[in-house]
Symmetry: C2
Subunit: 159 residues, 2 copies
DNA sequence: GGACATTAGTTTCAGATGAAACTATTAACT
DNA sequence: AGTTAATAGTTTCATCTGAAACTAATGTCC
């Protein structure tokens, strides 16, 4: 048996099987969830996920700047800037230039934006509840721990 | 107090907090992992994640058609088609038209493709091991159960 | 055999994406 | 004050994306 063949066999038995490969599984699962939610946000409220993230952050932390939103939402500033510009055009948020620093814009939800948030929030929590429905309390706690631990690995890896 | 205000207060206390919202957490975590791996695949082997998925599937299941790859890899046929065309151009895979059905192309890794797979596979398993390192055996089993359960929810929801 | 539907795979088109360049403003240093 | 560096946010550009249209081959029904 050739060295090459041996190597391949060992790689195969050490089993890099895509279906069991964690990054792949995370990716497939997350994309399914995101696509599902994106469709619902778009269909029922005409907004995208980045826009929804801006709204959800403003609902909790307004007034805040675009940079604040970018930090809080794990989105880059380009995506945030575009989401903000669409939301301004749609009248769901308002922006006041910061008096003490004219580079900054202080953002907040408009009345219409608050209405949208109040409509979406319970739906979103319902979808989350559906996803978690088959999990025991113990499993939910473990999932939380696991995600925190993996986040820490990524933080430490500078990723 | 207005009905509207009451509603808003209740929404806030029922706490849709983005940082704790499961779809958001999955999305952030997965994107970090994917970006990290994509950078490594690109830098070290000059391939993208879709291309890597095609390679990993062919390594295990060749010969298979583009449709087979699409099914196995949870990628749409457009993405698969593009990955295949790049891999053909790079000489990492080969395609023979199926004699019994000339629409189909039977795909397999070339020698160079096998070499790439054998180089990447142990690295990929190493990265996975790094992610899982802080988890106990119990937690790993639970994570597996959890992902299966959530997948089932999505299957049942037709998502 | 010929009309119609289906399937495999590619191409097109209309956005979405993000790195890098850019503008406007503020901060820091001399 | 004046020059330089840093920051907030936008725009550009080259690439990625996926739905829909398309081509080519096969299957189905009469």
């Amino acid at each position: 048996m050739s060295v090459r063949k041996k190597l391949r066999d060992s790689a195969q038995s050490d089993a890099l099987c895509l279906e069991e490969f964690l990054p792949y599984r995370f990716s497939v699962l997350t994309n399914r969830i995101s696509r599902h939610l994106a469709k619902a946000y778009e269909k029922q409220f005409g907004i995208t996920i980045p826009e929804w993230r801006v709204i959800a952050n403003l609902a909790r932390f307004a007034p805040m700047t675009a940079s604040d939103v970018a930090d809080k939402s794990s989105m880059d500033k380009v995506k945030v800037s575009r989401a903000i510009s669409r939301l301004l055009k749609a009248g769901l948020i308002a922006r006041d230039t910061d008096v003490t620093d004219k580079r900054r814009g202080q953002l907040r939800l408009s009345k219409a934006g608050e209405d949208v948030f109040e409509e979406i929030a319970p739906l979103a929590l319902g979808w989350e509840a559906d996803l978690l429905a088959p999990l025991s309390g113990e499993e939910r706690r473990t999932l939380n721990d696991i995600m925190n631990k993996i986040q820490t690995v990524l933080d430490d890896a500078g990723a």
